[in-house]
Amino acid sequence: MAEIRFEEITKKFGDKVILDHINLDIEDGSFTVMIGPSGCGKTTLLRIIAGIGPQTSGKVFLDGEDISGLPPAKRNVAMVFQNYAIYPTMTVKENIEFGLKNNKVPKDERERLIGEISEIVGIHELLDRKPGTLSGGQRQRIALARAMVKKPKVFLMDEPLSNLDAKLRVSMRTELIELHNRLKTTFVYVTHDQTEAMSMGTRIILMNKGVIQQEATPSVIYQDPDNLFTAQFIGSPQMNVLPFPDEKVRYGFRPEKVHLTNEPGQYFYTRKGHIVTKEMLGSETIYQVRYEGNSVMIKSLEDSFEQDHDVYIGVKKPNILLFDEDERRIRPDDARYEQWMSKL
């Protein structure tokens, strides 16, 4: 169990700033997911915790201890790499055992640990195999076992599910959540997949261009974004964002918060539009509706509306989010809130 604290972490590759003065706390025992578009610095931040890609400046603390200068092996962290980084020339058992041997763990203790962990991860019958003969899912488990056997304070995972097929990814997701519940250790998990982030994380850190956009629980990230980037990054289809006419301030609403009606309804925001496309996805239907030169996506449980027909869209007031000219959120307690809302 451990909490991680970043103080003024900056990372540069040459002149290129990858991480810009990051200050952040990762709670003890949390399942923290770092998410963002590629190149946002999330993996770099993870590698800084591991010590395999040191920061240019700033400090990292683990349980209050400054680990900024410690070598990776002395940090009490374990990592699962994106391509697993399993040693291909060693058997499964040797892979798991390698770190223990290097740490001079006695043989019977090693045997006990390997037995225990391989039981949990379900790779008992694979111990004498070479990794080359194993499937992606099995390798994933070995990488997990290799990390778990060290009983680290922190698990670092760098897109561990991205090399698995869709079905396996979903079941591994559940297993990782269970694993976290069982171990109660701090997990730091990097992904670019918002479904993974939302479903697994107890905390989400959303990053873009080396800056943390928002750090919150999944539901806060989704319901109450701090800024336009967060609002648009999470959610599929993404949030509809429209400008106020001739202004830099914008307003947005999520596709599923729109009500479609054939007659104008009693909503704070009502417009008449024209259905351009319709995608029937089973339980829900995605409509693209055009009005006043705007095009919005609408996710509805109702599939009775037809393409090329007119329709009324309605959104309730709390479901409309405002963003100022710097793309920051204007919340209801802001003095400008009512002023802009009244323009709708």
Binding site: P72, F81, T89, N102
Partner: protein, 304 residues
């Protein structure tokens, strides 16, 4: 339609004579080529090793007399010992020094790339062309190597001119020629080892030596095995350095197998039968050694 009825009308697995012969017809040109230019010369060599011949008159059958003769001669037995000595040093030192260099220069910086390129140069230069340079470097009076030795307060050596140091001189030149090439190949192999393996090893508390023996070496073992085989067979066939630098001398200090063969065939009264017999011995030695390598090492070579 016709093929369909045909295939229905005959039992499964039945093949017409043409269908049976077809694969062999396809590889026939390659087989003829191999037979004519590889298998036949080797068989011819073996046959001629049992004959007495002077390149001019018709050969006569002498049984194992050629073998009997060469094995009774001290020069031949010495040549075998010298060849093995040479091979041990050139292969052993050559591969280990190259590996050290490859690891040392494995970061792709300007200086490292330049160094590797410069190290590779001896491989592209014909040895004959640099013989004069080495003759000067190893000159017993004012050569570069002796200057270096003297600078450190060590006595001069006679290098290729002394029976004690001639073999060492030849080995040095051979290493000079081979190391750049080996380093290049090993360097390329090391570049292909995924970086994450080393990062994982860092997290697993592996030190540099462990990382080398547990990760780098197993990962580059296929290339190392290939280099080991080519370097060994190459060393057993050493000729040009000996021909240029020492002519097998002083005395018989650097007499090696191929130089012995060359002398029997072309220098000493055309004793071609002895040369052929020695060639067969050389072939068998290389063959046995390669088989032993495969037997002992192939389990430790890791193919992806």
């Amino acid at each position: 339609m016709t093929t369909m009825t045909k295939s229905l009308s005959r039992p499964a697995g039945y093949k017409t004579p043409w269908e049976k012969a077809r694969p062999y017809v396809y590889i026939l040109p390659a087989l003829i080529f191999l037979g004519l230019f590889t298998v036949y010369p080797v068989i011819d060599m073996i046959i001629r090793s049992f004959q007495k011949w002077n390149l001019v008159t018709a050969p006569t059958w002498v049984g194992i007399k050629n073998y009997d003769y060469i094995f009774k001669r001290k020069e031949f037995r010495e040549a075998i010992v010298h060849t093995i000595t040479y091979a041990i040093f050139v292969v052993g030192l050559g591969l280990s020094i190259s590996t050290l260099f490859a690891v040392w220069l494995s970061k792709s910086t300007f200086m490292n790339n330049l160094t590797r390129t410069v190290m590779f140069m001896p491989h592209v230069i014909a040895l004959i062309s640099v013989a004069m340079v080495w003759a000067w470097i190893m000159n017993k009076n004012n050569g570069l190597l002796n200057m270096v030795l003297n600078f450190f307060g060590l006595p001069s050596l006679k290098w290729a001119d002394s029976a004690d140091t001639a073999m060492m001189s030849i080995i040095i030149v051979a290493l000079w020629k081979a190391i750049g090439y080996n380093t290049m190949l090993i360097y390329a192999a090391i570049q292909n080892v995924p970086r994450e393996l080393y990062e994982a090893a860092d997290l697993d508390n592996a030190n540099a030596v462990k990382k080398f023996f547990k990760i780098t070496l197993p990962m580059i073992s296929p290339q190392m095995f290939m280099l080991l085989i080519t370097a060994t067979t190459g060393s057993f066939r050493v000729f040009d350095t000996v021909r240029v630098m020492t002519h097998g001398g002083p005395g018989t200090a650097t007499q090696v197998l191929v130089y012995y063969i060359y002398e029997q065939a072309f220098v000493l009264n055309n004793k071609v039968g002895y040369a052929f017999a020695a060639s067969v011995v050389l072939m068998v030695m290389i063959g046995v050694l390669t088989a032993v390598y495969f037997r002992i090492l192939s389990k430790r070579v890791h193919y992806q």
